[in-house]
Symmetry: C2
Subunit: 156 residues, 2 copies
DNA sequence: CTAGAACTTGACGTCGGCGTGAAGTGCAAG
DNA sequence: CTTGCACTTCACGCCGACGTCAAGTTCTAG
């Protein structure tokens, strides 16, 4: 199959496919005229690639990972790097959830009628799964936000 | 106080402070010579800005948010956008966690001795808090990954 | 007065995963 | 042969929050 068909079947753009090839994730054959020819298996392969991208992996790491998946065999060192990546992704997810909780507090302050003087420390607190205290580009000590109330919203 | 001192006290770079000003998040006064002069309150303000950045907000949204925080009063429309932002951040966090679970599966496949023919569907499944089925730049239908085993690692 | 630290504006670099032309070539149908 | 779509390579654009020179100015201590 050629690039257009693969793009459609895999649900990606032709530009993306050429980019993947540039990143050595795909190695299609060529016709005598220079056009790319992919095997049927390429559809699944592209989907796997998308999965790995969606997992936050860089094209570099994916390029190293794919041969291992093909060979059904992984070097321990690569396995370690994969674990490290997963840890980073987990940390990022946790950070985002903490951020979401902070926003939730802020929204709550503006949504509720001013319920007492709620101490809005905007500190997410250790409510999640924080294993380490790595920097994670930390936002230092937390600042306080003043209380908010919703504006009456005149009859617009 | 001048920019260097503020930078140190707030824990950011002077470049960042100038960038914040460019984004209309800060509006310091100037000396006759043109140097920036910040009030003491700027320290807290910068920390709040950092919090909002950490919450995944864009400088554009922060710029609209800060006056509301200053005025302790928020327009409902702005509140809605804030909620939408929070929803997006939540979705992103959930997506990352799903990705992390996928990686965990992949790592597990390579780590365990080949425990039976475990059907590695790499489907995160509904194990988390997925409220909606919004696109979230979805990776379409899930692909299968073959099983893996760890390579013996010769005595290196 | 002078050294030099701290400051100023300006502008280009970064990182990644593509989007989006531009200009030319391959291929199948009528 | 010709139309015309799919394809090719090349290469710049983009987004965002700054980092990082570069060259000039201001402030402060001695």
């Amino acid at each position: 199959m050629r690039i257009g068909e693969l793009a459609e079947q895999a649900g990606v753009s032709t530009r993306a496919l050429r980019y993947y090839e540039e990143q050595l994730l795909l190695s299609p054959q060529r016709t005598s005229g220079g056009q790319r020819v992919y095997p049927e298996t390429a559809v699944g392969r592209v989907k796997i690639i998308r999965q790995l991208y969606a997992a936050g992996l860089s094209s570099r790491l994916i390029a190293e990972l794919l041969p291992a998946i093909d060979a059904r065999s992984m070097e321990p060192e690569l396995l370690d790097r994969l674990s490290a990546e997963r840890a980073r992704i987990e940390a990022k997810a946790a950070e985002l959830q903490a951020a979401s909780r902070r926003l939730e507090v802020l929204i709550g302050l503006a949504t509720h009628p001013d319920t007492e003087s709620c101490p809005a420390s905007l500190d997410p607190g250790p409510s999640g799964a924080r294993r380490d205290n790595s920097p994670t580009s930390g936002v230092g000590t937390d600042a306080e936000l003043p209380s908010l109330r919703r504006v009456p919203a005149y009859s617009t």
